[in-house]
């Protein structure tokens, strides 16, 4: 009897852990894998047909067909295994059009997933795979393997490890949404600015770790550039920017943007040859934008919030890890608020200033030099402090005089109730008076940085507890 009881318990435990434990798996996101092939966004090209998208919730699988009869069959299927999701893109159902290549379809019964590839070598590898993970099903449709044909656009491939599904989209918006689902919303960071005179005499210079493209302010691609090819930009008068060196001279109106040619800006690193700085390398996109208000030309870095946090230069990450986690959560909360509500630099075209005016941001070289910041950011990924539905935007102060100040006490508003006064013997400056601390810029509202460090280092508090101590009644919320 004891054996039966033990076995039954194990059996029950297995079910509880296995089924309940995987109940939320489908909430996980899609990781970008690259460009699968090229097709058309609409039917303007002669002879193209719609490729229909279907989704099976029970299989966790997106599938695609160009066949009208397959579409009709699936829609009429009484079991409704696949639901019709609309037209994914347009392409050809035969190879009568020059330069088109077959896109092969594979099916994995263990993963319940359809996979598509235009690559002959991938096809061969899958067919030769001794594990037979994916079975070859035939030619799905015909498309292009580059964008040499006018009006073709990349069809992006994504992989969802949790539901084991390959997904394909031609939509740039959807691609961005899927990519940023893991790394957060895009933030624009003002790195530095040129006067018109400065950029008339000295050129802005840029190159990348991989191929990049140049776009004008309408999003039109002006050129595709090899990664190691240096592009230069100068102010040419009358609000025009002259782009040259890597290409024949082009004049653009007010704005030029540099971004990845392969659609993946997450692993794109630009060297912007920043004047008088040792920090030249930045993840994500780079934009030059002329501001009618300030009449300056700003160099702006656009990247996902999470990658921005990796390059924050406010700390080096050498302190206790819970201090680093406290501060990276504070950095992220501050920046998240800025993305949604900042208007201060709207006329200049960005949300945060990368200088000490806001949070110091030094980009990729800082990220490499001080990797514990990134470690702390990954540990707290996507998490911000909230007070009810409000983002608990909180200043952080280096020292206090033994207590923090409420927002109301310091700035006269009751709208920020998470900033209440608390005792802070941990962050009390050992020598300076209150007036000296204020004069040195210690507003003492919100998080006490030295207090947080001491609580983490000497008292063993974790980052949640530290934030909860300094910010009244907050919750830590994962936003992505």
């Amino acid at each position: 009897m004891a054996k039966i009881l033990k076995l039954s318990s194990v059996f029950l435990a297995f079910f509880f852990f296995y089924f309940l434990g995987t109940a939320h798996a489908s909430a996980a996101g899609y990781a970008y894998k690259g460009i699968a092939f090229y097709a058309f966004e609409n039917n303007s090209a002669t002879g193209t047909l719609p490729v229909y998208k279907f989704y099976s919730a029970s299989r966790g699988d997106y599938s695609y067909t160009i066949s009208e009869s397959a579409k009709a069959k699936l829609i009429a299927d009484p079991k409704k295994i696949y639901a019709y999701k609309g037209i994914a893109f347009y392409t050809y159902n035969n190879n009568s059009v020059a330069n088109t290549l077959p896109v092969y379809q594979f099916w994995s019964s263990s993963r319940q997933d359809y996979y598509y590839t235009i690559s002959e070598s991938t096809k061969a590898k899958l067919i030769a795979d001794p594990k037979k993970l994916y079975a070859y099903k035939g030619i799905a449709f015909y498309a292009y393997n580059d964008n040499s044909i006018a009006n073709t656009l990349p069809v992006y491939q994504f992989w969802n490890a949790s539901i084991q599904d390959y997904y394909y989209t031609i939509s740039e918006d959807e691609k961005d949404k899927l990519m940023f689902a893991t790394y957060g919303k895009e933030i624009s960071v003002g790195l530095w600015s040129y006067s018109k005179n400065d950029l008339s005499s000295d050129a802005f210079q840029i190159e990348a770790n991989k191929d990049y493209e140049i776009k004008d302010n309408t999003g039109k691609v002006l050129a595709k550039i090899a990664g190691n090819s240096l592009t230069k930009v100068k102010y040419a008068g009358n609000y025009k920017l002259r782009i040259y060196n890597s290409i024949s001279d082009i004049l653009v109106d007010r704005e030029v943007q540099f971004e990845s040619s392969d659609g993946n800006n997450l692993n794109l690193i630009f060297n912007v040859h920043r004047p008088n700085s040792t920090y030249d390398e930045y993840r994500g996109k780079i934009k030059l934008r002329y501001s009618d208000t300030s009449q300056k030309i700003w160099v702006i870095n656009l990247l996902p919030l999470e990658q921005y946090v990796w390059g924050i230069g406010e700390i080096t990450g050498t302190g206790d890890e819970d201090y680093n986690r406290t501060m990276t959560t504070a950095f992220r909360t501050y920046a998240y608020w800025k993305i949604l509500y900042s208007t201060k630099y709207a006329t200049e075209g960005f949300k945060v200033d990368g200088t000490p005016n806001n949070q110091i941001y030094r980009g990729y070289e800082w990220e490499l030099a001080y990797p514990r910041i990134k470690d702390a950011a990954i540990y707290t990924q996507g998490k911000i402090a909230k007070y009810g539905s409000d983002i608990a935007l909180s200043p952080y102060s280096s020292w206090t005089d033994g207590r923090t100040r409420s927002f109301e006490e310091r700035w006269g508003s009751t709208d920020y109730p998470w900033c209440q006064s608390v005792k802070d013997s941990y962050g009390k400056n050992p020598t300076m008076t209150t007036s000296q601390l204020f004069a040195a810029g210690n507003h003492m509202v919100g998080i006490s940085a030295h207090g947080a460090l001491k609580l983490a280092t000497d008292y063993g508090w974790d980052w949640n507890k530290i934030l909860g101590y300094y910010l009244h009644d907050i919750t830590i919320v994962k936003t992505y």
Binding site: L5, N93, G138, A181, T343, A346, N357, Q359, Y480
Partner: protein, 180 residues
């Protein structure tokens, strides 16, 4: 007596779980091959044999099913509280270019594309949105939340208060020297 009840409950629970788990297991591991989107039944049958193909522009040769990298797990993006009921964040991101006339002016005021008039005065003599715009500039210039409270339009009021908050926080951020 007690020693008999426990195994009975356990067995009953096991049967119950098995009952509910059956469709899950069936769905996951023993799916019948129902209607599929098999390519073999699709493109025209006169499609010729595959011609020589190169790797697509960015298709990584390692990008073969079965070799997927582990991805960082994430949860769905929580819906964000949108401060604008009429002007969306996307409208600000597109620099209000989707609007014309008064709506564009309003959008510019809400999103901060209109430069703050630091010499603003006489707001009490104005009406409607013009009064709100005036109070917003005044409140921001004087960094006085109480002035923002007198703004009627909720979007303009939010912009006013958020901007003062932003200026206050940013004014002190630069003096931090926090421990590294």
């Amino acid at each position: 007596m007690r020693s008999k009840i426990f195994p009975i409950i356990l067995i009953a629970a096991t049967i119950g779980l098995a009952f509910y788990a059956y469709p899950i297991i069936k769905g996951r591991y023993f799916q019948t091959k129902e209607v599929r989107l098999d390519a073999s039944s699709e493109p025209s049958s006169n499609a010729s044999a595959p011609i020589s193909a190169e790797t697509p522009a960015n298709a990584d040769e390692n990008n073969v099913p079965g070799n997927e990298e582990t991805i960082i797990d994430n949860q769905p993006v929580a819906p964000t509280t949108n401060v604008f009921s009429v002007i969306a964040k996307e409208d600000c991101d597109s620099e209000c270019k989707n609007f014309i006339g008064d709506k564009r002016d309003y959008c510019n005021e809400v999103c901060g594309f209109k430069t703050i008039n630091e010499n603003v005065a006489g707001c009490e003599n104005l009406n409607g949105l013009q009064k709100d715009y005036c109070l917003k500039d005044l409140g921001i210039t004087k960094k006085d939340f109480k002035i923002c409270e007198n703004i009627s339009d909720s979007n303009i009021k939010s912009t006013c208060k958020n901007r003062i908050m932003e200026d206050n926080v940013d004014d002190v951020m630069s003096n931090g020297n926090i421990p590294s």
